[in-house]
């Protein structure tokens, strides 16, 4: 979770600091220290529980999960065992068959463990910077039916967490982690088979691959008449395989009991109301609004809301040019997104402000910019990080929309191309194209094509009359 400080002490949660620099007696679990609950972490967890439509446990209690490991300095993790902050919630994913609701069993708050680095000069070293960083564990119901659905679920979950500012949810920094459980059952059966929990998956792509592999492995095992047992398996990214870590029987007895060093925290209605108020518009609601008020397609709405930054950018751009949200959407999803991807940026890091981007569809709408020029102008504006309107003005990129500015040129073109003019007169429309081309070349493409036609017609008629 994106708190400034750890769950039970005031150490920084910033990622990437030198090992063991964000530590104090409390998170190091030195003799005699006591935890003090970070209220902000509870607020964020509460927001997460509300965003996932959970029932809220009114009295927060923490428990100790006891086990020995060098990355766990107290030899117990402070977590929530039988009273999670939220339970019985859901989120919705959009599959090919439509909207599907995935149940959320529970959300609970707990502290992170440290990080072990094995085999450094013959030793295992441990970095306690991460120890005590607040996290929420979200457990879903067994509602996902394919690796693809698992991916959609994770993407939706991540986007909600990022939108609500609960977590930056970066798998590569460990701020989003996933243990994926999978079991098979015969067609038509409603009884779930024995599940395998897959650990050590480090990307969404990895989750899909691991589940696909495991689906295959379990299917083959069952078809060979093997009996599967509940177990924890480790995903090997390089080999693209899972390996058994431990069976259910080998699982730890964590000897959970209520944490006596913390007092019960009562979540009052005011706190829930505040968390509700702090929740921004989430992707589902945003999509609905884009469709209803901006007239966008469901597809466009889902593309624009996939990232919080893109949605914010789009909305700011629409605010600057409210006349045609669809045109703004096309720009944001088209050249703008392509440029972002090429540069590896998010929308908020783009060199163009939303207001600047909105100038392009506005200029087109005003008729002062052709779509061909618009692309060129966008490239220039992106490269310079400057207002497209100003660039267009400075570089004379605006369209010639005044007939009087074109008529002289048309007369010269007509006079200089007697053969083509004769062909036009003979009814060969193809010849007109050559004249238009000549006009466009002379104006460097700035002339409005309709006006060019008009000017040429007029010049040919004048010649006839003369």
């Amino acid at each position: 979770m994106m708190t400034e400080t750890k769950l039970f002490c005031s150490c920084s949660t910033a990622f990437g600091a030198p090992p063991n620099t964000h530590v104090c007696p409390v998170c190091l679990g030195l003799p005699g220290v006591l935890p003090v609950l970070n209220r902000r972490a509870v607020e964020l967890a509460l927001m997460a529980a509300l965003a996932l439509h959970c029932e809220i446990t009114p009295q927060e209690r923490f428990d100790r999960k006891n086990y020995f490991y060098p990355d766990l300095p107290k030899a117990y993790q402070i977590t929530q065992w039988d009273l999670p902050i939220g339970k019985n919630g859901y989120l919705e994913i959009t599959t090919d068959e439509g909207i599907k609701r995935i149940g959320i069993t529970r959300i609970h708050i707990e502290e992170d463990a440290g990080k072990l680095n094995h085999g450094v000069g013959g030793y295992s070293l441990v970095d306690y910077n991460r120890v005590g960083v607040p996290l929420i564990e979200i457990v879903s119901e067994p509602d996902l039916r394919s690796p693809r659905e698992a991916q959609l679920y994770l993407e939706k979950l991540r986007s909600i967490m990022v939108y609500a500012g609960i977590s930056d949810a970066r798998m590569e920094e460990g701020s989003l982690r996933c243990d994926a459980n999978i079991s098979l059952r015969p067609l038509g059966s409603s009884v779930l088979g024995k599940r395998a929990e897959i650990k050590n998956v480090n990307s969404f792509r990895g989750v899909v691959r691991a589940l696909e592999y495991e689906q295959q492995r379990q299917a083959e095992a069952l078809q060979n008449g093997e009996v599967l047992h509940q177990e924890t398996r480790r995903w090997d990214e390089d080999r693209g395989m899972t390996f058994s870590m431990r069976s259910k029987e080998e699982a730890n007895d964590y000897r959970y009991f209520p944490e006596p060093d913390l007092v019960q925290l009562v979540i009052e209605d005011a706190m829930i109301a505040a968390a509700h108020a702090a929740l921004p518009e989430l992707p589902d609601a945003k999509q609905k609004r884009y469709i209803e008020t901006f007239g966008l397609s469901a597809y466009d709405a889902s593309v624009l809301t996939a990232s919080k930054q893109t949605a914010a950018y789009f909305e700011a751009a629409v605010a600057a040019f409210p006349k045609d949200p669809k045109a703004v959407a096309n720009w944001v999803m088209g050249d703008f997104s392509r440029k972002l991807n090429e540069a590896g940026l998010t929308a908020d890091q783009a060199p163009l402000t939303p207001e600047q981007l909105a100038e392009i569809p506005a200029l087109i709408d005003e008729g002062t910019l052709s779509s061909k020029m618009a692309k060129e102008l966008f490239e220039k504006a992106w490269a310079k990080g400057a207002s497209p309107r100003r660039i267009a003005q400075e570089e004379g990129m605006t369209q010639i929309t005044d007939l009087s500015q074109l008529i002289d040129l048309a007369r010269r073109v007509v006079a200089g191309n007697p053969k083509a003019v004769a062909d036009v007169r003979a009814g060969k429309q193809k010849a007109m194209g050559a004249l238009v081309g000549q006009m466009m070349k002379e104006t460097k493409g700035r002339a409005n094509p309709t006006l060019v036609h008009e000017a040429l017609q007029q010049a040919i008629e004048e010649q006839t009359e003369g």
């Binding site: 030195l30 220290v33 935890p35 060098p70 007895d253 000897r255 959970y256 006596p260 007092v263």
Partner: protein, 485 residues
């Protein structure tokens, strides 16, 4: 320079002398160090004496800071003191120097108090005799052949031997009051949440409290003024106002309703103890207190409940001693698991291991409901019992311990006999109420006997008022044993 006798005055007297400039803090600290040098070879109350630091602080201290400023004190060795060894009398922490001060130490420093050293105890505060120290026993200053009680045996003995005017101890099931009773001094276990536990090496988190050991009740009140109050580092410390505890010491107990716990006046109580306590009751009557009889039927489960809850919490609290980061680490191990096992096998003593095993067992899957959860339920019933009792009385009275101090080795063979020693003191920890042990006489052999007074949560003031009135009338407190220097 002839050394000052610390026994000449109480804390109030020394403060006055310091304030007037009649004595210098360095003289008081030197007197304490001299007395330690003279008698601690026999008593062995101290594990560490911080001679240099104490003398340095004495030179700089502003004696007007507080009534404790410039006066030496001793600290139980499970209370963290920055850069000063805090061993919990365990091989496991033989080399541990905390990088921080416990909140009580910070408060004493702010008050200008001067710590002269760390006192012996039962390992990790588990025991009732200080025989379970990894660094040798402490002897009772009244009879060097007997235990000083425990687990704060070193703190109680240090005060009784005149080495310091007061000491801090910790009390999880009687660990301040029982040694105070055995050593003829005053010990208070404050209300749970009255004194911050931050920096107290945890034994059983829901029961532990730090408290003072002094020669008189009034001095206990004075020390409590300095260490009490809510602490942001301890979520279980209570945001309850701290009165000036010395202001209530009127000597007046007329109309005070004192409940005699009948369960603690019958079988299993040594006749000499019962007689001394009965005399104390008469003293209270003479002072105008109203005596009522009280039944606490659930107290018969206290020992069982305690020996489920305390070891359960301890098994978790002591799991961090794994040899990875600090403290003892076995030199033998070839793998992480081996390191854990051997470090803990070699670092912990028998009694600590016994309780870790017991606690691990009662928290295990399949046993939790039958033991730990059940114990919590009975604990809740006990609280109701006490709440009902306090509807009829202001103070509950009982012996502090069933017997006077016992001889070395007398109870180590059978842990349960040792546990029975805490019969009268355990309920206050389970219920979270304050309890005071005041000297109430001597056995025919000259061993001190302790009287226990308990009050409602956060009503230490009434406890002090009753205890102070009693000790003024009875005159057993403030007596120190003859020790050949």
């Amino acid at each position: 320079m002839t050394s000052i006798d610390l026994g000449e005055r109480d804390l109030f007297g020394w403060h006055e002398a310091l304030a007037k400039g009649d004595v210098h803090p360095a003289e008081l600290v030197q007197a304490s160090l001299d007395r330690i040098a003279a008698v601690d070879e026999q008593v062995h109350a101290f594990l560490t004496v911080t001679r240099k630091e104490a003398l340095q602080e004495a030179e700089q201290v502003d004696v007007t800071l507080s009534p404790l400023a410039g006066i030496p004190a001793a600290i139980k060795d499970n209370i963290c003191t920055q850069n000063v060894p805090t061993t919990c009398a365990s091989r496991m922490l033989h080399n541990f120097r905390p990088p921080y001060d416990a909140t009580v130490i910070q408060r004493l420093r702010t008050a200008g108090a001067i710590a002269v050293g760390k006192t012996n105890m039962d390992e990790f505060a588990m025991g009732s005799s200080t025989e379970h120290s990894a660094f040798g026993v402490t002897r009772n200053p009244w009879d060097l052949g007997r235990v000083p009680g425990g687990s704060s045996g070193g703190s109680a003995a240090a005060v009784a031997a005149g080495e310091v005017p007061y000491a801090l101890g910790s009390d999880t099931g009687g660990s301040i009051r029982q040694p105070a009773a055995y050593c003829g001094v005053v010990g208070l276990k404050p209300t749970y949440g009255r004194v911050s536990r931050y920096g107290l090496v945890a034994f059983a988190s829901s029961l532990d409290q730090i408290g003072p050991i002094t020669r008189t009740v009034a001095e206990s009140a004075l020390v409590m003024n300095a260490i009490s109050g809510v602490d942001l580092h301890d979520s279980t410390s209570a945001p309850v106002e701290v009165p000036d505890f010395t202001a209530t010491l009127t000597g007046e107990v007329r109309g005070l309703r004192i409940g005699i716990i009948s369960e603690y006046m019958g079988e299993g109580i040594d006749p000499s103890v019962r007689q001394a306590v009965q005399q104390a009751i008469q003293t209270f009557e003479r002072l105008g207190a109203e005596i009522v009889e009280v039944h606490l039927p659930t107290t018969k489960h206290a020992l069982a409940v305690y020996y489920l809850i305390a070891p359960a919490e301890a098994s978790s609290n002591l799991a961090r001693y794994d040899g990875v980061r600090y403290g003892y680490r076995t030199p033998q191990a070839k793998s992480v698991v081996e390191m854990y096992k051997q470090t803990r096998d070699e670092g912990f003593g028998t009694e600590v291991k016994r309780r870790i095993l017991l606690g691990t067992y009662v928290l295990s899957a399949g046993y939790y409901d039958a033991y730990y959860k059940r114990a919590l339920q009975v604990r809740a019933l006990m609280k109701q019992d006490f709440d009902r009792a306090f509807e009829h009385c202001d103070v509950l009275l009982s012996p502090t311990t069933p017997t006077p101090a016992f001889a070395f080795g007398e109870k180590t063979a059978d842990p349960v006999t040792m546990y029975l020693n805490d019969l009268c003191t355990i309920p206050a920890n389970l219920v979270g109420i304050p309890a005071l042990s005041v000297p109430c006489g001597f056995t025919p052999e000259g061993l001190p006997i302790g009287l226990q007074l308990m009050a409602k949560a956060f009503d230490e003031a009434t406890l002090f008022r009753a205890g102070d009135a009693y000790e003024r009338a009875a005159g057993f407190t403030g007596r120190l044993p003859e020790l050949a220097a």
